[in-house]
Symmetry: C2
Subunit: 225 residues, 2 copies
């Protein structure tokens, strides 16, 4: 398969494929001469994974590179690939270690994690992400106690439990690892989208009585298609 066919098969423009090659997201094809390289099904697959992480997972290119490097490293156990993915996904959160509010939020996050009995590395950046959310809720006057977060944690744990059951652990490593990464990234988005849909629906149910007469005005505000 030549680059033009790879482009056609994947829907990704040639210059973009070249960009991904430069950035080390996509392995080079097998060089058959100075101006020819041969690409295969693995490249199509890889491109699909890249686009999934980029468009659905909203990961920056640099993070995708790290994730894919871990996926390709045969020496890493599945758990460590997943760990790398989690590290790469977690956005930098600029902790202010000498800020009192920050320390309290971080302590609250750590407390919740240990109460739940979750096995999370002490240096996991995800802890900081949780602390950031907790701190933000505190500052906004909606304090996030462990009490308030526990339902979210339980729901998350139960969904993840189910999801883990569907990973083909005993198939080829690559399949399992990709399924894990997709689980982390794409299913995260699925849950987020469904939550927003549920939110809109709940809001419609709850408020429909209160606003009865206002629908006509609202219709005018509808964005024109």
């Amino acid at each position: 398969m030549r680059i033009s066919q790879l482009s056609a098969a994947s829907g990704v423009p040639i210059p973009t494929i070249k960009y991904y090659l430069r950035e080390g997201l996509l392995p080079s094809g097998e060089q058959t001469s100075a101006t020819r390289a041969e690409y295969g099904e693995a490249h199509v697959r890889r491109l699909r994974l890249i686009r999934a992480l980029l468009e659905v997972g909203r990961l920056p290119i640099a993070s995708i590179r790290k994730v894919l490097a871990a996926v390709d490293d045969e020496d890493l156990s599945m758990h460590h690939v997943l760990g790398t993915a989690h590290y790469a996904i977690a956005p930098e959160v600029a902790p202010h270690p000498d800020d009192e509010d920050w320390r309290r939020a971080r302590a609250e996050a750590d407390r919740l994690i240990s109460e739940l009995g979750w096995r999370i590395e002490p240096w996991a950046p995800t802890r900081d992400e949780l602390a950031q959310a907790v701190q933000t809720l505190d500052r906004l006057g909606m304090p996030a106690t462990g009490e308030a977060l526990r339902p979210y944690a339980r729901a998350a744990a139960s969904l993840v439990e189910q999801e883990m059951g569907t990973i083909p652990m005993d198939g080829p490593r690559e399949t399992a690892v990709e399924a894990l990464v997709i689980g982390t990234v794409v299913h995260g988005r699925v849950l987020d989208v469904l939550r927003r849909l549920a939110h809109e629906s709940a809001s419609a149910r709850i408020f429909e009585a209160r606003q009865a007469g206002k629908d006509c005005q609202a219709e005018k505000d509808r964005p024109t298609p």
Copy 2:
């Protein structure tokens, strides 16, 4: 309160505050002379909300402007403010209306929503987001049937139900509306982070037996603090 005090109180640098004023995210202070304006507690509050939407919610400035405009529009019902927030949050998803795969994914998304009995506007961009995720999973060979998505939907619905109960519906409009927006954005992130934590924990539990001997090597890969 002058701009320098506003900056100190909120932790946002003066040039950034000026930028938010220019961009219409923050209302101007009360002009007391050609070179003085007076800011109040509302400005501090607004800045905190902006930073929450930006840093935790990862919303682009343009979306934040739309959300805040809706929050400030006293003529909009709470449901419509929330709708605006949902519209603003949903990233553009570039649907290809003549792509067969896309149409199938979109149909699957619509089917799931109607099966669940959710009240979602037909033109809601969130439908496209769900369709995008479904299409991506299809392409990656992990087809997302309604069956597979239902547990996520149920969990989302139940969490949202609880969350709605905590909104102070009968307090001042601004408080309720802000709580709704924060619920949409910040609690979404909380759930996402908790899901990734649960994922890491589950992975640790499941794989610890399989990798026993590899921990030493793994420790060396730990990012240096």
